[in-house]
Amino acid sequence: MSRRPAHHRLPEGGCIDRSRPVRFSFNGRQMTGYAGDTLASALLANGVDVIARSFKYRRPRGFFGSGLEDPLAMLAVRDAYGYDAAIRAAQVPLADGMAVHANTGWPLSSFDVGGLIRPFARFIKAGFYYKTFMWPNWRWFEPLIRRTTGFGRIDAIAAVRPAERVHASCDVLVIGGGTAGMAAAHALINSGHEVVLADDRPRLGGALAWTDADIDGRTADAWLHDRSAAIADADNIHLLSSTVVTGAYEGNVFTMLQYVHANDGVVLQRHWKLRVGKVILATGSVERPLVFPGNDRPGIMLASAMSRYIREFAVIPATRVCVFTNNDAGYDAAFTASRAGIDVACVIDTRDVPPVRLQSALEAEGISQMTGSEIIHTHGSTRLSGITVRARSGGAARRIDCDGLALAGGVSPLVHLAAHRGIKPVYDPDVAAFVPGAWPENWTGAGDVQTPMTPDQAAASGVAAASQVLGKKQDVADAVPNPFNIEAYWRPPTGDAGMMFVDLQNDVTVADIELAAREGYVSVEHLKRYTTLGMGTDQGRTSNINGLAIMAGLSGRDITEVGTTTFRPPYTAVPMGAVAANRTGPLYRAARYLPAHDIHDAAGAVFEDVGWLRPDWYRQNGKGREAAVLKEMAAARHAVGLFDGSPLGKIEVAGPDARAFLDLFYVSNIMTLKPGRIRYSLMLHVDGVIFDDGVVTCIDDTLFVVGCSSGNADAVAAWLERWHQTEWPSMQVAVAPVTSNWASIAVAGPRARDVLAALNPDVDISSTAFPHMSFREGAIGGMMSRVSRVSFTGELQYEINVPAAQGDALLERLMEIAAPMGGCLVGLEAWLRLRLEKGYLHVGADTNGRTTPLDLGMGGIIDKKPGDFIGRRSLSLAYAVSADREQLVGIKCTAAPLRAGGRILAGDDTRPPCRSEGYVTSACFSPSLGFHVGLALLENGSERMGETVRIYDDGDIIKAEVCRPGAYDPDNERLMA
């Protein structure tokens, strides 16, 4: 970092509070600024002029802008509340105790080892990386290149800055608190509309803080003071300062990012979603630089930035300055500097005949002027020391010593938000700017965003915009065309194009654009991607228009023809933490808890988030998962296991047509299902692919309960409702999803009936009275219960449903009863292994997005069903009946462990690469059988029983035998017990 030795702060003036010094550090060095400073102005006031190294060539760079247009000063900032890895210094209000570090440049941005690359800069042209590091593979080079470039370092121990989300609605949103926005908001006071005025700065006024103006016949200061006070007092105007509108979306919904500041930093980030009736866009404009050789040296900045640093922050950005301009606005910087006591060497104007009044004013200040001239070279090493100037018509070059240079190349309206909504900006050659050609519905513009205008005009246009919102007609004096008398000047015709920087953040020069033009990348979107023009964190605010104007010149087209690139949200960088807000850690997503969660927790459950937090296994005396799972399986096989199945879907389907309605969904015949009985079946999508499996219970002829898998509980209810509403609205059927009203505990194992009996049920539970696949309602353990005898495990199994509030009590009773029998709680993992031993499928794991019931061997069941059902017609299409389909089979092997995911190799192939004929969908070791069992989807599998296949499993080849699923208790004796 280089430092100028002299004073860098004016003795008086500016919007800073000299009574409140603010101490901060930069690269470990203690510095002092004032309340009201931005980080950029404070650094300038402390003499810091090299703040960054450029992205590609490692050239020293300084402060170029004074707001979010600044392409260069991206710093790592830690305040009392958090850390930002790369934040624009000009947008950060200075805070007590802030620790700031430069991001590029090692060890210091003023002496950068990487700067050694500069001599080779000639060879690093557009597309350099892609062209050079293609062989053998870009991926090999990418990490290395990424490390030497880029902005920001991730701070692994960064504090999480508090953030919250807010949703709100208002009638009118005024975007921008400059002259036009303030005038509009002021005109809407007491209008009966709820108005939000969003401004990205801490203080209202925009450019009035650094421009001389008379508005409505008053001084800018007086106008600003009066309007600010009125807006603050108005009940219907909600001022959101330090709030950037980051995106505009359909339905007039906007996203906004608000920073809530305390003295020591950003105490809160608030991410808004705002729904708006009408919009007044008053975002103003941003100044463009001029392009010439050596235009990137520290000390060179936008004219508006120089004026702002001097007037708003009382900073002395240089000791002797020049101004380079193609319009009248640049002269403001000269007068501002001169009146602040800064030596102004010369105003260089590209125009041959600037207005005479400006010439006289310069003479009055004793400032020299060169008209019809341009800069052909700049001098200096880490900071500007002089410029060389020459008449555009030719002639002798003249060197002028200066350490500051202000650039005024005209302004670009900030049309981004309108463009988010699809509005294409159009080029207006009179003012050399892209202006909004139209507005989205219910939008209007005010001020500079429409076309460059004076503050007085901007105020009038703000009032006019407010009138339009209120539906009042108001005559507005036509804006003075081209009030700053701009004459477009895009680049010098000769000179070193490789030193003319267009995009200062990404080091894109005129030479790169020339190369792109030569290679045919003339479309503006190609130009952007090929050269990276405008792809930096500043999104090319100061470079895009210059770049595409230069491309237009090179390809012999109008600027209009070239057009702009697409604008997309966000308008400026939005921290992910602000978007996430409090949705982190345990609040990351809406977890669902079992009714008896606390009982499981106390029993040592290790929960897994599968949409619900479900016990995966239960800790036992320090044993690991595998031992616990085996113990739980053994309990279910030899005594009794208790499994919480509360998430299983329960949907009541009732009404005169309930039976006929459900028959349209299931592959099995529901018409023959008797009251008190249960049937297992599948639901299909319209294309015949399996959607869900489950059991349907007939309580009586007009009431059924659809039991579906846990993950599909909501989807199946929505599916039934959708078909009812859209396809069969005349069927008299009511769909009532009641899953969460019930706690559901499955009791499985040879002692299951003993457990149930111990609850003193008031129904006969003998196997003959209450057989497999039947349903009873009654009082069990004193609770009103619905009990289903169904089995997922292959054992005798009951599912006891009680109202959810009694889930705790039921589970505790069951545990008391089961414990002396050797029973215990069973987690999800053991439960799934038990069903795998039995060979039952798990939809989603053992089926995929192609699997039909025919692939499960259910063709016979379907053939027997007389009626139609969703998906049935698709099962006779050619793809569903082709011979090479993957069908579900069992597999077993005794040697190596089987694992889900292993690919089955085709035919005689022994090693990949080769064709695969299917894959293992589920697998585990079966303690009951003594070998490894699994399910697999295998081409033509049903015809391949007994065949030995080779399975590729993460490098190993495993031999396994194809078999029918369900080696455990193949005769269902245990199930029917």
Binding site: E250, D687, E721, T726, L877
Partner: protein
């Protein structure tokens, strides 16, 4: 953000509350068993996919759960017509007349 006023609960609903249901008025051949393979696969897969006004189905998922129909421009997302499920779009009524 797409905002549609539900024609059943009369609330403005934003896209997070809504569920998209694809093109509207795709007739299901009945009885399916008598549909030709071509007619059935058209029903399953063929859609107009226009650049312009698209007639489609939406559900007030987080609200009243009702399915309804919407005319939406696929480029601008302008919603020009929202009707109850049993109603017909203006262009259909014109065609009927």
């Amino acid at each position: 953000m797409i905002i549609i006023r539900c024609p059943y609960c009369h609330e403005d609903r934003h896209e997070e509350e809504l569920e998209y249901g694809g093109e509207a008025d795709i007739a299901r051949p009945t009885p399916p068993a008598q549909a030709t393979d071509d007619a059935w696969t058209d029903y399953l897969y063929m859609r107009t996919n226009p650049r312009g006004v698209h007639f489609e189905q939406w559900c007030c998922r987080a609200g009243c759960g009702q399915w309804f129909k919407v005319a939406r421009h696929t480029v601008t997302h302008d919603i020009t017509e929202v009707i109850r499920y049993e109603d017909r779009f203006a262009y259909q009524k014109d065609r009927d007349a």
